[in-house]
Point group: C2
Chain length 345, copies 2
DNA sequence: GCTGTTTACGCAAACGTTTGCGTTAAATTA
DNA sequence: TAATTTAACGCAAACGTTTGCGTAAACAGC
């Protein structure tokens, strides 16, 4: 009678009507062998007629498999959740998960243990989508042997998590900076993200590598940190332009910073690239139709999400991490927002 | 021994070590009465030491409550999932869900029945976040009495779902159009979304209401439909400007359309508002620092998400929908992107 | 016709909880 | 002191599955 509320029937009721034991019903519905085609068909139609759906909780209890993976957005990353970066990663995760029969549990702004979701058996594994490499809670995942991947993962030299999924951005950023240097720029700014974001560290490295390779001096003033927000992009771009020696070129670390910075440039009526060269970094197509067309580092965000999900599911199902994956290369595309260094005024 | 894999203990093991029955452990851990403070404390420390976490599946199986609500993004809305609109709604849902002890199950691009998630007992209720009012699958939710809310819901005159959560946009849009008319504009364009999106219908109504109230003629050419994308905003703005009699003012239905349209305007070097007045609609702050500051319809998207979650949880827990909610009013803010109609050329 | 194999099923345990009911012993009341 | 209530706990059923094992019947090979 309690079941009436839920308007669905159980395996037992079907068994009665089909005149078989309920274990046979289970096998029939799950496509296991040991059931004749006749009874299988009978049970199948009966199940449909009776509006039968398996109870996921009961199934999970005995089979120890929920077919659910958790997406965890740490508290430290909440402010960026609304950015296209996150939604594109989730789109990638979702695509693979759906295809392989997994549901998604979304945990935004998590402040407690990441492990607990697994320990409480709410998920078969978790994907932590955060970019702070100082997150101690990651350790518990590997320590307790919890199936998990981390996006974008951590610094290559000290990875606290063996399954870090990240795009390979060094090359594209190096190319971008090299491109600007070759155009004659020397005062090149890069609006970064949080100081302990993987992305920031990665970008700084690309920047410094390119500058060192060209024997150029690195001025920290041109490398401001931001909170990844549109507003910060706007404000920091303003501060850069207010410098005694303002940059002649600027790179932006993500969509929001790019948009904010462009608005600042527009507000000051600076011409791109005549007065200032701009390289943006995009996960979305928000800036696809900007005038002028923007020289851009394109990050394969959806692929990152797909790989993270694929790796995790493989780990869940086989117990072992899949072998080395091919790198997900960010692309550098030259368009018309970068040009020769303006002559000093 | 199988439990070793999961590295957690069960209620039974704790019971043994505490020298009580496992029902006592359950009661102690759940804060029910019938347990002395001494044993309760003993069990609590023991549970912590032994790394105990309740098994959600087992708990759900008997208590018929999962504490999970599903967020369903229909297939027809997938293309907009990456828009700030969706992430802000999810942020609102998440805030309330977390506070009230619910987890979120995210289903992107669902093509099957919405009801099945409930019928398979994966969620206690669902929030459908879509904007097409021709979605037949909504009917099954009410038909089977499944706890659910729908965002943004449906047209007020024919609601197929009793719990539609939506912002109240008519007034703000009416004000926006009235504002433009008062500025002398007559050729006013509105770049809408999908033809059977609730938002489009709502906007058309506001538009036509304002025009009728001023005894002005409505020209359908100025009311193009879009797919809510940046690209479409860009292209449609171009088509509008290519019209023999181009509009002197334009309204945009959401963030993406606004961005696309602004890019088109910028690409043509039109001055805002001298050549063209622009009213944008925003869920995000992507356009917060635009130059000039944009006259805007601000939609309280996070509040919509919060209300949807709040209503649903109330429905789940009490079995009845909460009484009438106060409307979530969109705001109209005049800034500097709207000005007097330019004199005819 | 005997043995061995396969097919199609049933039985019952198990998964880890919650919870109604029963049973002591202690505490309270008359 | 006896009667009654209450507190603290145990017992066992229940939730709806999956699955290992057992078994009868059918079937094959010789």
């Amino acid at each position: 009678m309690d079941r009436r509320v839920f308007d669905v029937s159980t395996i037992l009721e079907i068994a009665k009507l089909a005149n078989v034991s309920y274990s046979t019903v289970s096998r029939a519905l799950n496509g296991q062998k040991g059931v004749s085609e006749a009874t299988r068909a009978r049970i199948a139609t009966l199940a449909r007629e009776m509006n039968y759906y398996p109870d996921s909780s009961a199934r999970a209890l005995v089979s120890r498999r929920l077919n659910v993976i958790g997406i965890i957005i740490p508290r430290t990353c909440e402010y960026t959740f609304t950015s296209p970066y996150y939604s594109h990663i989730m789109l990638g995760i979702s695509a693979v998960a759906t295809q392989r029969g997994y549901q998604l549990m979304l945990v935004i702004n998590e402040q407690n243990s990441y492990a607990s979701f697994y320990q409480r058996r709410m998920v078969d594994g978790v994907i932590v989508v955060g970019n702070h490499f100082d997150d101690q809670r990651i350790f518990a995942l590997t320590e307790h042997n919890i199936p998990s991947t981390v996006v974008p993962g951590f610094l290559p030299d000290s990875p606290p998590h063996p399954l870090s999924i990240s795009s390979e951005n060094h090359m594209a950023n190096y190319q971008a900076i090299e491109h600007l240097i070759n155009l004659g720029h020397r005062r090149i700014a890069f609006i970064l993200g949080h100081p302990n974001s993987v992305y920031s560290v990665e970008r700084i490295k690309a920047y410094k590598d390119a500058f060192r390779d060209k024997d150029l001096e690195i001025v920290d003033e041109y490398l401001p940190y931001s909170d990844f927000s549109v507003t910060d992009g706007f404000l920091l771009m303003g501060q850069l332009l207010d410098l005694p020696k303002p940059p002649t070129a600027v790179l932006c670390i993500n969509d929001s910073i790019s948009i904010g910075a462009l608005n600042q440039i527009k507000a000051r009526n600076l011409r791109i690239p005549d007065d200032l060269s701009v390289v943006v970094t995009c996960a979305s197509n928000m800036l696809a139709h900007y005038d002028p067309p923007l020289t851009e580092v394109t990050v394969p965000v959806v692929s990152v999400g797909k790989t993270a999900a694929d790796t995790l599911i493989q780990l869940i199902e086989t117990g072992a991490a899949p072998p080395g994956r091919s790198p997900l290369l960010a692309r550098f595309t030259i368009r018309r927002s970068t040009g020769p260094r303006p002559r000093p005024d």
